[in-house]
């Protein structure tokens, strides 16, 4: 395993599109780093620059102590899992797993051992002689993971590897990837647009938008201390409620107040808390909790409430949020601000 470092890395395409802008980020050895952001934010481009599949326009990428800007993909000692599996269709599962090892002149006995071990870990032992077309989607993705594992590389690069699986399989495979990564302690960069995946998998998360790194940190840090309104609304589901501070009597026009849906309670505001009157528009029952969509003047808010709370569409009620749960952002820039 090896640390990975971006030093002022930029990517500009021929047509002038700046996919990544001066990215500075250090990923420590053995860390599981998740790049997350909406489509077109540059997360996959950043990953592909580490893999050597995209040329770096400016800055440098380091794997371990080595600057790899001009090192070919095969010499970077990385393994990549693709969104679309990218298995070799004319090879069996065993041949798919062994292909990269053969190219590195690893002994036959060692190849057999690694393929056997990976197949055991990924529950592929009964499918080794099958071709990819005879496998289910989940099995194919496990083969793609296995192809990375057998290499025992310095780093895993994963480009939305679960996005083609159904919901149940995604949860199961998510856990498998985490177990494998923890067991091997291999530095991993994992790209996803799904903030739930990012929150549940990453040791740290790097949130990107329009090619710019917005914030990096642990899931808890990003959730509780977002650097700006973009991170605040992108991380967490449902998104953080953002309200102009004066609406809640919390400060000047230049500030936006933000609070998470789970911090809203159905009660008149006790002393020191923030209160507001809102009308319930829709209630989504989720079994263990319910989401109440509220209307506060022109603003739409969401409250995550216990199912015991009696809220009905159309009713008007008093809601409260603990003062310490409210975060503040500059209205002009969206950057986190000190409380007034």
């Amino acid at each position: 395993m090896a640390a990975i470092r971006f030093d002022g890395v930029s990517k500009v395409y021929g047509d002038g599109t700046r996919a990544v802008k001066e990215l500075d980020l250090a990923i420590v050895e053995g860390e599981f780093m998740v790049f997350v952001g909406p489509s077109g934010c540059g997360k996959t481009t950043a990953l592909r620059m580490v893999a050597g599949l995209e040329a770096i326009s400016a800055g440098r990428v380091m794997i371990g102590e080595r600057v790899v800007n001009h090192v070919s993909p095969k010499d970077r000692d990385i393994a990549m899992v693709f969104q679309n599996y990218a298995l070799y269709p004319h090879m069996t599962v065993a041949q798919n797993l062994a292909f990269g090892l053969k190219l590195r002149n690893i002994s036959r006995s060692e190849i057999e051992r690694r393929v056997r071990d990976a197949a055991a870990v990924l529950d592929l032992e009964d499918h080794l002689e099958r071709k990819p077309k005879a496998l289910s989607g989940g099995q194919r993705q496990r083969v793609a993971l296995g192809r990375a594992i057998v290499r025992e590389p310095a780093a895993f690069l994963m480009d939305e590897p679960l996005s083609n699986l159904d919901a149940a399989l995604r949860v199961q495979t998510r856990a498998e990837i985490l177990k494998i990564q923890k067991r091997l302690a291999t530095t991993t960069i994992y790209v996803t647009h799904d903030q739930v995946e990012a929150m549940t998998m990453g040791d740290r998360i790097a949130v990107m938008r329009e090619g710019v790194l917005q914030q990096s940190g642990t899931p808890e840090h990003l959730y509780t201390r977002p650097a700006n309104t973009f991170v605040a609304t992108f991380i967490g589901s449902p998104a953080m409620n953002l309200v102009p501070a004066p609406v809640l009597g919390l400060g000047p026009d230049s500030l936006i107040a933000g609070f998470r849906p789970e911090h809203i309670r159905v009660e008149p505001a006790p002393d020191g808390a923030v209160g507001f009157e809102a009308r319930v528009e829709v209630v989504e029952y989720l079994g263990d909790e319910q989401l109440a969509h509220l209307r506060l003047g022109e603003l739409a808010l969401v409250a995550k409430l216990p199912v015991q709370e009696r809220v009905e569409p159309g009713m008007a009620a008093a809601f409260a949020v603990a003062r310490e749960a409210v975060l503040f952002f500059a209205a002009e820039t969206g950057v986190a601000a000190e409380p007034p």
């Binding site: 050597g52 990549m80 693709f82 969104q83 990218a86 004319h90 292909f99 990269g100 190219l103 990819p132």
Partner: protein, 307 residues
Amino acid sequence: MSVFPLGRRRQRLHDASPPALVLEDDWSRPSVRWGLGTAHTVLLVLLVIIGLGPILWLAKSAITPTQDTLATPLALFPHGFAWSNLTDAWNTIDIGLYMWNTIVLAFGSLIAQIVVATTGAYALSALRPKFGGVIMALLLTTLFVPPVVLLVPLYVEIVHPPLIDHSFVNNYFAIWLPEAASAFNVVLMKRFFDNLPREIFEAARIDGCGSFRLFFSIVLPMSRPILGVVSIFAVLASWKDYLWPLLVLGNTNLQPLSVRLYAIEDFTPLGYFLAAMLITCIVPIIGFLVFQRGFLRGTGLSGALKG
């Protein structure tokens, strides 16, 4: 609403067939059922007559006594058989030698065309040289030049090849080299390579493939369908080529069947001649029947990618 591709029976046999223009409800109408059914039958019979008729006539005539063929050439059944036509043709016309020449020419052309088409297309599609677009445009331009226009300049090139002070006349390279320079094959192959999933190429590069290894271990095995198509085109074109071998292969011991059969027509009994033609035709027909399923089915990419 479900639809029938051609008819009810066919719908049952090929449920996965794409929908056709004639809907299930239309097929229930007698006028459509009878009208289209009759049209299908007539078309099928016509196609069989046009496609198979000449070959069946040749097969019949090859084993018919020469006098019988001359007297009633269009008779459906022969008046007596002359199986000896086949052995006599083989022995007296020396078909074995000319067939061997034809096979060598065809497979030499095949190899030359495959090598040039695959490497050229790979370079243009995967390696993407700086002026690849210009090269591709030039290749496409050559497709618009009628082959007959090239006959004389090509002959001059073969007699006085550039850089080599040695004529290729009466040498099989006179056939193989021009065949290899087929722009059509390169364009066809490039179009196929362009559609191969790039993620697989990228996965292979990360796995450790250089450009050569990527070509031999990934691209070629994934290209079996198009290799099959080009192979069939190459072998058939070479097998039936007449004019160019006639020009560059003056030595009768090197000539293929297509040239030799025409040359001997005037002094060979018709029965022998037709038997020789049958033998000449049967080889590519059998070859096509044996290999066409393997060559033409599917793209061989299923399972590689999600989708």
